[in-house]
Symmetry: D3
């Protein structure tokens, strides 16, 4: 196991995902402990830790990819929270999903917007 | 036909796509003239013309969506050029596609990178 | 905003979607009011309002596209209702989804059929 | 092997696909002879031979599914020819693909239109 | 109807799917009785009954395809049970989904693992 | 950089992919040198190097995933060669793709078979 990458990943993962990520990871570890490490190590310790793009841009890429695929509702909601944490405004997230309608169709865009609505409502209730 | 949206779309389309777009549009018009107008009017006159996100961010969204889908090679290459025109560096485009590997898999990422390579080589030969 | 297209869209949207659409649209408007207008204006005011294909054929196209994508259950159920409203028989909707098994696989076809079953049962309970 | 279904499939396949289908089938048989029989037997001898939908409607379903998937260019071009043979007008095929832009995005729609353009040009040169 | 293929399919279907399959089939028959027969006849009576690959390998192919598509949660859970019945270990199923992360991305892999976790927990409670 | 994983990856990559992989990697390195290392390190040094599944099974998983996605022709052809190198017979590869028709549709299956045919012909010419 690459200790450095894994350690870097843990820091980036914690910074980017906060409590959202920790619960998700504990859940995953019960069934796939090695893969939970890989997930910290590769996406977070390797990709997200690279200096080439800032965290805002990285969340925009991720939201665009997940909304386009349209079948990862849990991941999409998690990254909507992470995008907000990274300083992206609610209106910009909706604006992003509007543009997805052009490339992946209106149903994919609408589904992403309704997922965003759920997240916004959940945050407002707290 | 909504003259204002279409006119706004023509301006935005020209600014964003330059010569790349004009040739594409002429090609499309031969078989689907109304749709060529809709394409100018809705994606460009409506979505890209909105103030909520700058053009750099819009190209990042588009590249992420197209690379994720992985079956729109022509559109992807066109938008790689448009991203460069918008001021996104070559290294950032490759960085973006690296991150796509996490969400849409390595083959989608590699195919997007090789499409970028083709575009970069084409530009260098000019 | 293109008043004519938007107005035409509102009429077509009301005629095609009835109460199903209105509730959906109110839900969407809370988070994305501009996009709710675009959705009325482009799919309904622009595409569905064109004379080239009748509404039955348009619903067949939409059901085929949504069943193929397999990740837009809400939209699929809504359009199953709209297809019934347009005069397509229940048996024809099932027949359509049978054919989808050839092009998009048996799971996509079965999921669409079970969505249709839910809609039929809901209508029978009323 | 179900002789009746296979024989029914051969007739339907010939009627629907004509020369387009025969060449395709010979090509497939070289590597997968059993599967070539299944393809005649299931899609054509079973699904397309059912009375519930006419052949025009079946081609509309197929074009919608293939254009939505966006990665089966050869099959899409073949079925554009079959749709023309079934009496669907060129303008209606383009109209169909316009509507796909709403559900599967503009790139999928444009790619299908450009495939149609290739087929139309090929037929006009004959 | 091809009696032989259908009869062969019923035997293979029963052997492979056990009680999981019967309930599913009864559910499907209510809305699509002919298609329920085709599903027994083609996937099970035709494909799964062929000698070229053993049932373990066939379940590996199916799990890989379903996890890659990422939008057939019910089918995926059913086939996780069938894979266990065929003698594939829980650890191997997780191992398979790890590899899917490379080709279809981390969200598809994680979703498949969490589906497996649900199935394992359900079996452990019995 | 994790030297151990990268070194393990280089060995596994060489063993699994032979000359096919080296050329591909050199091509990728020109535009994305870091990512070429990640590709060796994660899929090969991390996933393929794990003991849980043998290399034959791993190639079956990969072929199933790539054929299902249907838009990674280059990767699919490369892995057809790697599957043959791993000792999977040509007939088994075709058998695998037959089964894909059930889950991802006939066009995805046919396209994979025709890709296999190209690879078989290329090998026979040598």
């Amino acid at each position: 196991m690459s200790e450095n990458r894994l350690e870097a990943g843990k820091k980036t993962f914690k910074k980017v995902t906060g409590d959202v990520g920790e619960k998700f990871l504990d859940n995953l570890k019960e069934v796939a402990p090695d893969f939970a490490d890989y997930l910290v190590e590769f996406p977070y310790g390797t990709i997200y830790s690279r200096p080439g793009l800032d965290i805002k841009t990285r969340e925009i890429i991720t939201l665009s990819s997940l909304a386009t695929q349209g079948n990862a509702a849990i991941e999409l909601k998690a990254h909507i929270k992470l995008a907000l944490n990274a300083g992206i405004a609610r209106e910009q997230i909706i604006e992003l999903f509007m543009q997805i309608s052009v490339y992946a169709g209106f149903p994919a865009a609408v589904n992403a917007m309704l997922a965003a609505k759920d997240v916004f409502n959940e945050l407002d209730r707290k």
